[in-house]
């Protein structure tokens, strides 16, 4: 988009550049934010006086592409027809844009699924995208980890990231998915990160720390992205804190922390939000996204197949559970969060507690782990809850008495400001992902801009932006899609060392069920990848 555009008179929220609701004009040229220029040179001037201006939203943890997502679509065509939880790739891009979101990261793709994920992401319009590569249960990676050869591990991971065109490293239930697939046993997995997996010496701790070091050595824009052990299990706070302690001093991102902040009282779930947030508040190397649960239908889709097995035992729902070559597990199961369920009500309350206990909003990101906790379409409702203590108290009345009596929400009167919301939905996730050109409106940033008409009802306000610009072009106006843009696919830049390539080829020859040439991103897609460096 080469035209020059001026957005005149908006109330700008750009916390990355210290702008907190001041009124000033935004200048756009060539799809980027530029310094002020003479109005006579402008192709278009849009008067947005009194309106709220923010950078385009950044969803750093969602499930929107790849065979797992496709399988969920096939499993639940009724949900696809409703269009809330599940959509085609095209509608996903359109609905994100309609909410003012312009960047999204698919949080879990197995190496084998990378090629398809790239095809799908290419067909998801209006978003700049990338995906995280599942490595915490990858058989070859695990075998290499046991050799304690840091260089070989680094070269292998670099080759995997390069070959698949991935954005970063994801670790799910470290080691326990592979262990459960291989040996069966208790699907709850380990209760300490120092428990050996199977008969070997490998432990969740060694997986976490060594892969964190690799991410550091490779200078990846985003640190390791961790889904900790024992997701959803009462009392899991202990292993979550062990995980964080093990990673102390190394950059790391703990994802959907709401599912990992549970205490236990006589076997029943209690909130451990305070214990978790106390740790996060005092450790600047830790960042997190919340994975807020909202009442209503959801679909669990995860690499954590033992967890899915447990959920299937609990619910008896029609489900799918797979292993993907020797790379990862995969499970899906439809689910419903009910406000009358004590467990679900706790999950809802714990998520909000975490947001409200966070001292530094730059390190706590809004997510629903779409579609696991809820659809991304629930973001406006969550924003409204964070901005309005009275609304939270009203919602609390729906919940079972046990939760009402014990949750910290009764005392937490904090209300997020528009600046805070901009941080947890834009500036914060962009910074955590290492996307310096996103989540801000400084000179040189991508001109991904959302303009809202201010309203008392924050849910309505955030549900229907007045304008959404993608690379300087209007894509949404008054809730209507005006145009569609392809968006880019972002990937980290890792060197492809000969050792890594050789290791991968050898593995494919011995274990793969398809040819190495068919593995990873196609040459055509590689040409289109946008490299992101730290």
């Amino acid at each position: 988009m080469r035209e020059r555009l001026i957005l005149r008179g908006g109330q700008v929220y750009d916390p990355a550049n210290g702008v907190n609701g001041q009124t000033h004009d935004v200048y756009v040229h060539n799809g980027q934010i530029v310094a002020a220029f003479d109005q006579k040179l402008a192709d278009k001037v849009i008067d947005i006086q009194g309106m709220v201006v923010m950078p385009g939203g950044v969803d750093m943890h969602c499930h929107i592409a790849g065979p797992a997502v496709n399988r969920v679509r096939r499993l639940l065509p009724g949900h696809v027809a409703q269009g809330q939880l599940l959509n085609s790739a095209i509608l996903t891009g359109q609905k994100y844009a309609a909410l003012g979101y312009t960047t999204a990261i698919e949080a879990a793709v197995a190496a084998t699924a990378a090629r398809q994920a790239h095809f799908e992401m290419q067909d998801t319009p209006n978003l700049d995208k990338g995906f995280l590569l599942l490595l915490g249960n990858h058989e070859q990676v695990l075998q290499t980890l046991t050799k304690n050869d840091a260089n070989q591990l680094r070269d292998l991971v670099a080759a995997l990231l390069h070959r698949t065109g991935a954005f970063g490293i994801k670790i799910v239930n470290p080691g326990c998915v592979a262990n459960w697939q291989r040996h069966g046993g208790n699907p709850l997995g380990v209760d300490s990160i120092d428990t050996p997996l199977g008969s070997g010496t490998l432990t969740p701790r060694s997986i976490l720390t060594q892969l964190a070091d690799v991410a550091q050595a490779l200078k990846l824009p985003h640190p390791i992205h961790v889904h900790a052990n024992r997701l959803g299990v009462p009392g899991n706070i202990d292993i979550t804190l062990q995980t964080l302690a093990a990673l102390q001093g190394r950059r790391h991102h703990l994802t959907h922390v709401q599912f990992h902040a549970y205490g236990k009282d006589n076997g029943a779930i209690t909130s451990a939000a305070k214990r978790l947030m106390d740790h996060i508040n005092s450790h600047p190397e830790t960042t997190c996204d919340v994975g807020q649960v909202m009442f209503g239908p959801a679909v669990t889709v995860t690499e954590d197949s033992p967890l899915e097995y447990l959920l299937w035992q609990l619910t008896g729902q029609r489900w799918v559970n797979l292993d993907v070559e020797l790379e990862s597990g995969c499970g899906m199961l439809p689910f419903e969060f009910k406000d009358k369920s004590t467990l679900h009500a706790w999950q809802w309350a714990i998520g909000l507690e975490l947001f409200l206990l966070a001292i530094d909003p730059w390190r706590v990101v809004l997510s629903t782990d779409h579609p696991n906790g809820a659809s991304f379409l629930a973001y406006p409702k969550i924003i409204a809850l964070l901005m309005d203590a009275n609304l939270r108290q009203e919602e609390l009345k729906r919940l079972p008495e046990t939760v009402r009596e014990k949750t910290l929400l009764r005392e937490l009167k904090r209300e997020y400001s528009l600046n805070d919301i901009t941080i947890i939905t834009r500036a914060g996730p962009a910074r955590i992902l290492g996307l310096s050109h996103k989540g801000q409106l400084g000179i040189g940033a991508d001109a991904d801009i959302t303009v809202y008409a201010p309203q008392q009802n924050r849910e309505v306000m955030f549900s229907s932006p007045r304008f959404v610009f993608k690379a300087g072009q209007i894509i949404v106006e008054e809730g209507h899609l005006r145009s569609s843009m392809a968006g880019t696919t972002m990937a980290c830049t890792t060197p492809l060392e000969a050792t890594g390539e050789r290791l991968l080829k050898q593995w494919f020859t011995e274990k793969g069920s398809y040819a190495y040439d068919q593995f990873g991103v196609t040459p055509r897609h590689r040409e289109m990848l946008k490299p992101v460096t730290r």
Partner: protein, 336 residues
């Protein structure tokens, strides 16, 4: 050369070559004149071709469906109930049956045994390769099922299979995925048999050795539209038929007056329907026939009745872009 059931034509002959431009014009005209066209097939096609087919279906507001049914898709209806876990296979499966592996399972998937059939300690396991000709498949399966359910009499050969099943506690059946694609109803018969046998013993049915090409259709259609097909694009909302077999009913009820076949040949006779076939196997060809009474099911056959026309598209360079996608894009030109 083999005539299919329902074939009423008097004979086969090759089509007549005409210039590419004329063939495309004729194909466009057929689509324009049609009141109820449909786009079927989509086997052996690329992601780009499926994408172009979706665009054409949207433009024409018509039915779009994989046909014949993709075995993975077909499988989806039964898989949750009929799959054995890997642990069950390893620790309990004492009989493994192979169906449709004429050259042996190793020719299809060389590492199959290491990948799927490690064996738990002390487990005795038998294997049987069942190779029935197309003409006896259905009958044999029915007889076998009747025997297992009601002790109906059996031939000696079938008795061996029946006895092996009866004397086992856990049976795993591997179906050649190619056979499943060619003859999904045969798979369905075995699925029924397995479902019934589950009253007495564990029995699992799995596909083996898919080419992966069928998967392209299912995956691509799903991410593009939200559904694996069949789909109808007549309104803003995509209509989805949950069972792929319903497309068969559309054909039988004469709900379609023109069919554009993509990447496949019609698998059975379709009367009173104008047809256009874009074949996937190189060299890429367009066949335009006023009537296609029946075709050989083998993908490498290329037969049209003499009143059709056939064209080799030598002018399209496969290295540049997907030729089928190019053809579909050409067909879009001039459509309303």
């Amino acid at each position: 050369m083999q005539k299919l059931p329902g074939f009423t034509g008097r004979g086969w002959s090759h089509g007549k070559a005409i210039p590419q431009k004329n063939a495309l014009t004729l194909a466009r005209q057929l689509l324009q004149d049609s009141k109820a066209p449909g786009i079927l097939g989509l086997t052996l096609v690329t992601v780009e071709a499926v994408t172009a087919a979706v665009k054409l279906a949207q433009q024409l507001s018509v039915w779009l469906s994989p046909w014949p049914p993709d075995p993975i898709r077909f499988w989806g209806h039964h898989a949750p109930d009929l799959a054995l876990s890997r642990a069950e296979l390893e620790q309990a499966a004492d009989l493994v049956l192979y169906l449709g592996f004429e050259n042996g399972v190793d020719a299809v998937q060389p590492r199959h045994r290491q990948r799927h059939l490690s064996r738990g300690p002390g487990l005795q396991r038998r294997q049987m390769d069942i190779r029935w000709s197309p003409s006896e498949r259905y009958q044999n399966t029915i007889h076998l099922r009747l025997h297992l359910e009601r002790q109906a009499p059996l031939t000696t050969e079938l008795k061996k299979v029946a006895e092996a099943i009866i004397s086992s506690r856990c049976v795993q059946l591997f179906f050649n995925a190619q056979l499943a694609q060619d003859d999904p109803h045969y798979v369905e018969q075995w699925q029924h048999l397995a479902a019934h046998q589950r009253k007495h013993r564990r029995m699992g049915v799995s596909l083996l050795g898919s080419t992966g090409k069928a998967r392209t259709i299912t995956e691509t259609l799903t991410w593009l539209t939200g559904y694996p097909g069949p789909l109808h694009f007549s309104t803003n909302m995509i209509r989805y038929l949950p069972h792929v077999g319903e497309v068969d009913q559309l054909i039988q009820l004469n709900a379609l007056d023109t069919i554009l076949w993509l990447g496949t040949r019609p698998t059975h006779a379709v009367k009173n329907v104008k047809q256009i076939v874009i074949a996937a196997d190189p060299p890429h060809e367009v066949e335009v026939a006023l009537e296609v009474p029946g075709l050989h099911p083998s993908l490498d056959a290329h037969l049209v009745r003499g009143d059709g026309v056939m064209l080799r598209l030598a002018g399209i360079n496969p290295g540049q872009a997907d030729p089928m996608a190019q053809l579909l894009t050409s067909l879009m030109e001039g459509q309303p």
